[in-house]
Symmetry: C2
Subunit: 439 residues, 2 copies
């Protein structure tokens, strides 16, 4: 794609801060950075962690090749000492985080990166890019899959987002509960099941709708999905069953009043004996439209634009903040908690944090507890952070299906109102526990 | 990035439609596809064409390697005849389009792709992904650069979007009038000027704000930009000028009431003799916030989230539609205009189109005219489509600065109300002219 490694998915200030810290002798101070968000998107009741697996890939692949170093040298972005340091760069620290697919709330320490300032400071942008994008899509997907009940959702949004964002979006949608994707690159890269239907162009290419349906059935079999809204829907359904027989796999409706049309098409299919032919609806669906079709005879939903744009919230507001560091290069020196303190807002809690989700007597989550210092004994079994990278080695990689299952379970562990589509507050509050030393 | 070529930025149905058309003998019908949008995002007065250069790269790189073919075979996505066809795939047709940086309106034929159905059908998703994403960002950037007057805008949104979408976003922002980007990958890939400031983490790493400022100035020089809102802004500004002297390049303010704080900081800097020290503001800016700071002593704006998410409209609604095709494989057979006709909406005008922007007596645009058939003589000199690909060869590549200049000129040719930020209708209407045969 014209960018050789993840090294340059980096804001310039990360490299210039490294240069200044190297010269000042502070670059080796042991540092703890945390990823968190101060708020959920307005009205949302929970967030969904997605992108963790992609972060692990990015951290593993973050190295500065010769041509990248040449670029930095020619542009005079950093000095030779810094270039030397970058040439040998490999992340050798530790990363803990919420496991992918988990839910999160304001203040949740979604990821914690620990190592020298020099190695941690370079990861800010790439980690945030991935988590902010993927979590936004997964959150929308999760709401849509709730709204769909058990009906399968097809991710069809590639054409509405950047071509590689589309691949990540298909992955995030799968985590959030989608069944399949139309994006072949997502099938290739992540093994997500792919599906396809047909476009109006295919019907229009042929001299008649009947010719088009016959061509599709001849080649792809009776199990195919025929698109029935190019001309007249009722006539198309009749033709479709004539051509494919009652074994026709599915019809797709991509325009009009889907609720009304789905009922009519179902009745017509049944009358024609095509009682097993499924109805797939597409056309600017979001979670509300999906919910409104709950009583309609719809078998699957194809979702595009609203999924890949996060259904109104196309990005997360996660930040990557230094929360503690030593006062010297000695990694065993005591950690000093740090935090921005200006009066203009954006303040946060310093210190390295743990997190736990406290269940009530019935096992339903009742609070997200975030703290510094020792973990209270009653929460020890409910901690959320897991080890992802240990001494530079990725230890937290896992199959996408495990992540998808985790999300289903995590969402099911929340109070029922989590999956209400209406706007509301985070479904559980975040409580803060400050340790004696703040770290 | 784990995806070997642009071949798989494709929805599965494109390949299965190809298979069906090959079997039906319709795959070689000469076909004309057009990219257009039925509407602008709500309230927007014009759109900005961006991504054209990236489309040309994608078309040039669209070929099916062995491992991609293996994937398609193993997944049983298409049959062997289709795989053979894909193995030799190179786009050999023609592409015309609005030149990149131009403005567009509902119905504008932004791009026209012509060749056999077999070769054109595969380009739908990748072309739409690129144009829908990049044009959305460029449109937001254009509004922001209008709002900023002559003050420079810095693109800082990489952390709020997919890591590769960020690179394309920086490119689109540059087209829309941004001056620089913080994203190093965008500098590497597209030669966009890169800049950096500093983060709160750098201040917090050090034992005092003074130590941090000294470290930064020692290493990066007095021309650097110091971040002054980690603790107390007034104290930070005082310290900054003490450390760097009045030659300090700039200070950055990233939180608080920017209007108020900018005035105070300017006054303080002037009193300290740092009259040339610039003030850069960042913190969730959009075009409205930028406009509201017009009277503030601000020298540059850094914009992130709202830019890379299209300021409320993260994607375009462009579609890729078959508008005409021959009735046989003979490319010289007459073109038959085609269009979807169902009652459910989404209809469009068939036939291969031209487009012109008609000026009034003062040379200001007064209508977008889109038609089929012969171009009226009075519009011949105002046509918009240019040749981009000829017989499979890219002929329309151009430097990014030329694209950026074109956008400035195109916007300046619109009625003044184009750059009003308030919601409104498209600033000029689209008129349709139907040729005698509709093609």
């Amino acid at each position: 794609m014209g960018v050789p490694s993840t090294a340059l998915f980096t804001d310039q200030y990360e490299l210039t801060m490294l240069q200044a810290a190297l010269k000042a002798g502070t670059a080796e101070r042991h540092s703890v950075f945390e990823v968190f968000t101060r708020r959920l998107p307005e009205g949302r009741r929970y967030g969904v962690v997605a992108g963790t697996g992609r972060v692990l890939d990015a951290v593993e692949n973050l190295h500065f090749d010769e041509d990248v170093l040449d670029f930095l040298r020619e542009r005079n972005i950093v000095d030779e000492e810094t270039l030397d340091r970058l040439a040998g760069y490999r992340f050798s620290g530790d990363i803990w985080g919420y496991p992918e697919g988990e839910v999160y709330f304001p203040g949740s320490p979604i990821m914690r990166v620990e190592g020298s300032f020099a190695e941690c400071v370079l990861l800010e942008t790439v980690i945030l890019s991935i988590l902010n994008h993927d979590s936004a899509i997964a959150a929308a997907a999760s709401r849509m899959s709730s709204a769909a009940g058990g009906r399968p959702l097809i991710e069809m949004g590639a054409r509405r987002t950047h071509e590689l964002a589309a691949v990540a979006a298909a992955r995030a949608a799968y985590i959030g509960g989608f069944a399949t994707t139309s994006d072949l690159a997502a099938g290739y890269r992540y093994g997500i099941p792919t599906v396809g239907t047909s476009a109006h162009a295919f019907t229009l290419l042929h001299d008649s709708e009947r010719d088009a349906f016959r061509a599709q059935v001849d080649s792809l079999g009776r199990g195919t999905t025929l698109l029935v809204d190019t001309y007249d829907v009722a006539e198309a359904v009749r033709t479709a069953v004539e051509v494919a027989g009652p074994e026709l796999g599915a019809v797709r409706i991509d325009s009009g009043d889907l609720l009304l049309v789905a009922h009519r098409v179902r009745q017509q299919l049944d009358e024609l004996g095509a009682t097993d032919t499924r109805i797939i609806v597409t056309s600017d669906l979001d979670e509300y439209a999906i919910a409104s079709l709950a009583a309609a005879p719809v078998d699957a939903y194809g979702v595009g634009t609203q999924l890949v744009t996060g259904s109104g919230h196309p990005t997360g507001s996660m930040v990557y903040k230094l929360v503690a560091r030593t006062g010297s290069a000695d990694p065993h020196a005591p950690l000093v908690p740090v935090a921005k303190k200006s009066s203009g807002g954006k303040t946060s809690m310093g210190g390295r944090k743990w997190a736990a989700r406290r269940p009530d007597a019935d096992g339903v989550a009742e609070a997200e507890v975030v703290g510094t210092g020792p973990v209270p004994a009653e929460l020890a079994g409910h901690q959320l952070l897991v080890e992802l990278v240990k001494g530079g080695e990725v230890v937290g990689r896992e199959p996408l299906d495990a992540v998808r299952d985790r999300h289903t379970a995590a969402r099911a562990g929340l109070p029922l109102s989590a999956t209400q589509l209406s706007r509301g507050e985070p479904v559980i509050p975040t409580e803060y526990v400050r340790g004696p030393s703040g770290n």
